[in-house]
């Protein structure tokens, strides 16, 4: 099978619009037969087959414009067999320097038995391997947690193990700092009630969605809270993939809502509902489990006033919301009862400082005070 691509009909042609196909799937074509008509910025051209074969599939329908080089049809050459992709071997990841790996092989040391090394970020270095070889035994540096596997373990224990490993690593490696801010939610909730008033139940926006949106936009102002700490440095993410903590029977997971900052409230509401639904049915996609760039946990429906969470590594921040409740707040010098929430930030001190974290919480508060901007 070979792809038939949008051809270049001149050095300055970048794209072409398919006007009409002159062939259909199943047709036999000979080299030179006209396959289709293409419109360029300059004129329309007939495009011919470049080899004999059978049209297998038309990939781009007439009326669409595609770049030069884009596959637009599949044409099978006679006698051509389909190639099967080879299965990918899966190897456990070991943090070891290239040189140490070579030396370990030379000295007959199994680096997997060395544990955590003394190099950058715990990498096993040549010196670690040489020490291991000298002792003729496994040097005990630090035991890694047992891998969550085995037929005897229930799925529930598997998730528990994974949480245990991740949270232990987080507390071991990440120097957390914590901030909190009480946010007056009266304007936001009033605005939301007005918005929802004219809508059927199925189309209403729930207040947690407003909180998510505020977090997503606040990230624009303090982007260093959004990303990963890897290889000793902060790698800020350009996209905002909000991890949303969802409680299951077996533990908590935090799958991602991709590009949450680009979504309208309605889209975000739909995405959240869909995510919760699929999390409960165990049909999340792998990318949703790994792509979160910052996590939000909302324990509001369970009553606690505030939550000071543990960062999910390699992320660098976690935002928590407690219960929305009436509190006595001082507004314009008057003591008044207002519905409010305590927002907290757990952040990695390697990646950001309290000053920036404070700005972030303040940005969330400001956005929620002007909900129409969301």
């Amino acid at each position: 099978m070979s792809d038939f691509n949008m051809p270049s009909l001149g050095a300055d042609m970048d794209e072409g619009e398919i006007l009409a196909w002159k062939v259909k799937p199943g047709d036999s074509v000979r080299k030179g037969d006209v396959l289709l008509e293409v419109d360029t910025s300059k004129a329309a051209f007939d495009v011919e087959a470049d080899h004999d074969g059978v049209v297998e599939e038309i990939l781009v329908e007439p009326g669409r414009k595609v770049a030069v080089g884009t596959p637009i049809a599949r044409i099978r050459q006679t006698g051509e067999a389909l190639a099967k992709p080879a299965p990918k071997p899966v190897a456990p990841h070991l943090r070891i320097t290239p040189l140490a790996r070579v030396v370990a092989k030379d000295l007959g040391v199994d680096p997997a038995k060395i544990g955590r090394g003394t190099g950058i970020d715990g990498a096993i270095t040549r010196a670690d391997v040489e020490r291991a070889a000298a002792k003729h035994e496994e040097p005990h540096v630090e035991k890694a947690p047992p891998p969550p596997s085995g037929a005897d373990k229930s799925k529930r224990e598997g998730l528990r193990d994974a949480i245990a490993a991740a949270m232990s690593r987080s507390k071991r490696e990440i120097p957390h700092y914590y901030l909190s801010q009480t946010i007056d939610l009266e304007p936001a909730l009033n605005w939301l009630e007005k918005l929802n008033a004219g809508r059927p139940i199925t189309e209403r926006i729930l207040s947690p969605v407003l909180l998510l949106k505020a977090v997503a936009h606040a990230i624009w102002e303090v982007p260093e809270l959004n990303g990963y700490w890897t290889d000793g440095a902060l790698n800020q993410s350009e996209s905002v993939h909000l991890g949303v903590a969802i409680s299951l029977h077996s533990g908590v997971i935090a799958p991602a809502i991709h590009d949450a900052d680009d979504m309208s409230l309605e889209q975000l509401m739909a995405a959240l509902a869909d995510l919760v639904q699929r999390a409960r049915h165990g049909t999340l996609k792998a990318s949703e489990m790994t792509d979160s760039t910052i996590t939000v946990t909302n324990l509001g429906d369970r009553g606690p006033e505030a939550v000071y969470g543990v960062i999910y590594p390699p992320q660098v921040a976690l935002v928590g919301f407690g219960a929305v409740m009436s509190r006595a707040l001082v507004i314009d010098g008057q003591l008044v009862a207002r519905r409010s929430v305590i927002a907290t930030l757990s952040a990695d001190h390697r990646a950001s400082d309290g000053h920036r974290g404070g700005l972030f919480l303040r940005a969330i508060a400001r956005l929620l005070e002007h909900p129409e901007s969301l």
Binding site: L99, V102, T118, I120, A123, T125, A127, D231, G232
Partner: protein, 327 residues
């Protein structure tokens, strides 16, 4: 016999020698005659060789670099001084589209034995339009040869070697080096420009650099030695073609490397050096590579901000310590 002279004097002497030895050689550039050269490199040359050999050019970088290319094609041996690399951007078309391509486009019929010299680099509070390091841009282009003398001997010798080269050679002279002094034999002449040079031997980490950052790397190596880390300092000297063998040899010895480059980190020449190490010496590495480059900001005017933007001895020491620490 030998005498002590500065990098600037070495450049001047090299011009004097080149103009004396070969009547085809001439120097052209802005203010090279009456003014004596922006950095006083050509001071006095016009008195000796005349206005036909030391030619003041109008502020027409593309024009006089192009004229240099034509003159070189036509059988002369021009030295074109572009005041600083910043202004060379006005001549980028001639350098990239003509000087570098003519031999190839003509199927090997033409050589362009042109030497272009330019001052470069920050450190003198000249702000965002007069402080660039862009040698990596030129090193990107096949057809050019790019050298960066970091020592007094190279300042003198590389010009002579470049003039003998049949192809276009760009010489980057870091302004921070002009006052550097060293002792040079009276008969010091052309130097080879095919190889990098180990400026200091070491065993724990390689500090790889060139041009204006060599003094910083050497100072960092001294400080590291005091902390018990033995640093090798490799001066690349020629950025195109790059001496891969010397880089691999040094990394194979120390198993760790810090590359110091005054270009901005993104797309820096250091990135190229690191990639070659990954491609050719990956299994020699016992730690991740580190780069010390300029901060991602146009060079600021204020002294403390400019210094903060540039690679520093402290940063080099810190990067080297991080990857070379022992337990």
């Amino acid at each position: 016999m030998s005498r002590t002279l500065s990098y600037r004097e070495a450049l001047h002497d090299a011009h004097f020698q080149a103009l004396s030895e070969d009547p085809r050689v001439f120097l052209v550039g802005e203010d090279v005659n009456c003014y004596g050269g922006t950095y006083a490199v050509s001071k006095g040359l016009a008195d000796h060789f005349g206005a036909d050999r030391v030619i003041d050019a109008p502020l027409s970088e593309s024009g006089f670099v192009g004229a240099g290319i034509g003159a070189a094609m036509g059988g002369l041996r021009p030295i074109v001084e572009v005041m600083t690399v910043n202004f060379s951007l006005l001549a980028l078309d001639q350098i990239v589209n003509a000087a570098a391509t003519l031999r190839h486009m003509s199927g090997g019929q033409i050589s362009v034995p042109l030497v272009i010299r330019m001052a470069m680099g920050a450190g003198r509070q000249l702000a965002a339009q007069h402080s660039h390091s862009l040698e990596g841009w030129y090193a990107h282009v096949p057809g050019l040869r790019v050298v960066a003398p970091a020592t007094v001997a190279d300042a003198r010798g590389m010009l002579l070697t470049a003039l003998a080269d049949p192809d276009p050679v760009i010489i980057f002279e870091h302004v921070g080096l002009l006052a550097l002094t060293d002792e040079l034999p009276d008969d010091a002449g052309a130097v080879e420009i095919d190889h990098a040079a180990v400026r200091r031997e070491g065993s724990d980490v390689s500090l790889i650099t060139w041009g204006g950052n060599l003094p910083k790397a050497l100072e960092a190596a001294r400080q590291l030695e005091a902390a018990g880390i033995s640093a090798e300092v490799l001066d690349l000297r020629t950025l195109r073609p790059l001496d891969d063998a010397a880089i691999v040899a040094s990394v194979s010895k120390t198993h760790r490397a810090v590359v110091i480059d005054e270009m901005w980190k993104t797309g820096s020449f250091a990135a190229e050096v690191c990639t070659r190490i990954m491609e050719q010496a990956f299994f020699e590495l016992d730690a991740p590579l580190r780069r010390v480059c300029s901060a991602e900001v146009p060079i600021p005017y204020a002294r403390h901000m400019e210094l903060a933007a540039l690679p520093s001895v402290e940063q080099i020491v810190q990067a080297a310590t991080e990857i070379a620490r022992h337990e």
